[in-house]
Amino acid sequence: MSTASTHKAMAWLVQANKLAEDFAKKHRHYLSQTERQLSAAFEVGSLHALLRYYESHDYVLQPANLTDDGEYRYLTSPNGNPANFSFVRADGPDGDFEIRQQVRIESHVDKRICFTPDIVVIVKGADIKSSTDRRYASGKRPFFRVSSSHVVAAHECKSMNPFPELMVSFLGMLVVAHEWYPNGKTVKVTKKSGHLAPTLFVGGTPRGLHLRMITALQESYAMNIVCGLHEGTWELSQVQNRLRWQAHHVVDELK
């Protein structure tokens, strides 16, 4: 490299450092967020995207169980009693539902399989069971959970770059969190209007091979993988798989 270009490169670096220093000083507050705050921010962003999707698909949304100050009290851990936290009501053409956060699911596969997706859509008034078990918090705290038979869709939020193992592992949640999967009568998989099928929200941008894999997974399973949310892919109208809940039809048929 010539002396002139070395000087130019050095001048660029000095200027870059000055700009970085000014930026870091001025925006210190947001740069100094904790890991937990960043994870919460991404989850909140995914919830926003989901709610906008519901609103554009003929569901009437209403925040419920707000605090006296009108705040939405977000359940941040499955240890909390869901009854004490806010949720969003979604009343639509196929029934009334609740969109909740951090509600533990008890799987139909086996009651010992319990886990907590980031966001879950359940039928309105689904029974949230509570019991104590000495194997959980030494029996001192109730173990809250909802049966997977009430789950319309469980969604997971990952603020990271997509990679094949992450995408494939979401299939586990599809299988154990949804009693309707794969052939249940309570749900009809559709490409038209309806609930967002179980979805993995990913912050990072996919590469070509990832996109190919996502297409294949979505064609093979009733699920969606939405990537690039950091970048601004917040419009979910293009998602492939949707669901219509038809539990009431099943009940009618039984009558």
Binding site: M1, S5, T6, A9, M10, W12, L13, V14, A16, N17, L19, A20, F23, A24, K26, H27, R28, H29, Y30, L31, S32, Q33, T34, E35, R36, Q37, L38, A40, A41, F42, V44, G45, S46, H48, A49, L51, E55, L61, P63, L66, T67, G70, E71, Y72, R73, Y74, T76, V88, S159, N161, G203, G204, T205, R207, G228, L229, H230, E231, G232, W234
Partner: protein, 153 residues
């Protein structure tokens, strides 16, 4: 090849950006940056044609390092924050502030985050980097998009 002073200034760029960060996010940024720099060295060793082209166009290791730093800070810290600042149809986060443990996601939060993102994009642009480079995954992805950009130029 970069001089020792160039290397030092490039390291300083990353340190200045991450200095206000908490330990875990800072470690995540540095880890990602190290991985990208390692990939850059690996590709140089393999005589990567895109990289050779970019070197001829004046892309030094120090400049790559600065771009990787910008990319890492966005991916690990600012991207997730930006996610929470978008408007929500039913007024969550605006009319109804979201109380998430000790955190609050409300209008003031969204405004502050948007100002920070705006300033970061301006910084990116001042350095001659394109906005979409913020969201690329790996060193290889970035090299490809920079190569494409430089070739079109």
């Amino acid at each position: 090849m970069a001089t020792a002073r160039e290397d030092r200034l490039a390291d300083e760029f990353l340190s200045l950006l991450t200095q206000p960060m908490q330990r875990k996010p800072r470690e995540a940024v540095h880890r990602r940056h190290t991985a990208m720099m390692n990939e850059l060295r690996f590709r140089r060793g393999r005589e990567d044609p895109h990289l050779n082209f970019l070197h001829r166009k004046g892309w030094s290791d120090a400049r790559f390092s600065a771009l990787f730093a910008i990319n890492c800070v966005y991916q690990e810290v600012l991207g997730p924050l930006q996610a929470s600042s978008r408007s929500c149809a039913v007024g969550l986060g605006t009319r109804y502030p979201i109380r998430h443990g000790s955190l609050s996601f409300d209008r003031a939060h969204a405004r502050g985050v948007n100002q920070t993102i705006h300033a970061f994009v301006a910084l990116t642009s001042r350095l001659g980097f394109k906005r979409e480079w913020l969201t690329r995954n790996t060193c290889g992805d970035l090299l490809y998009y920079i190569y494409r950009h430089e070739r079109e130029e």
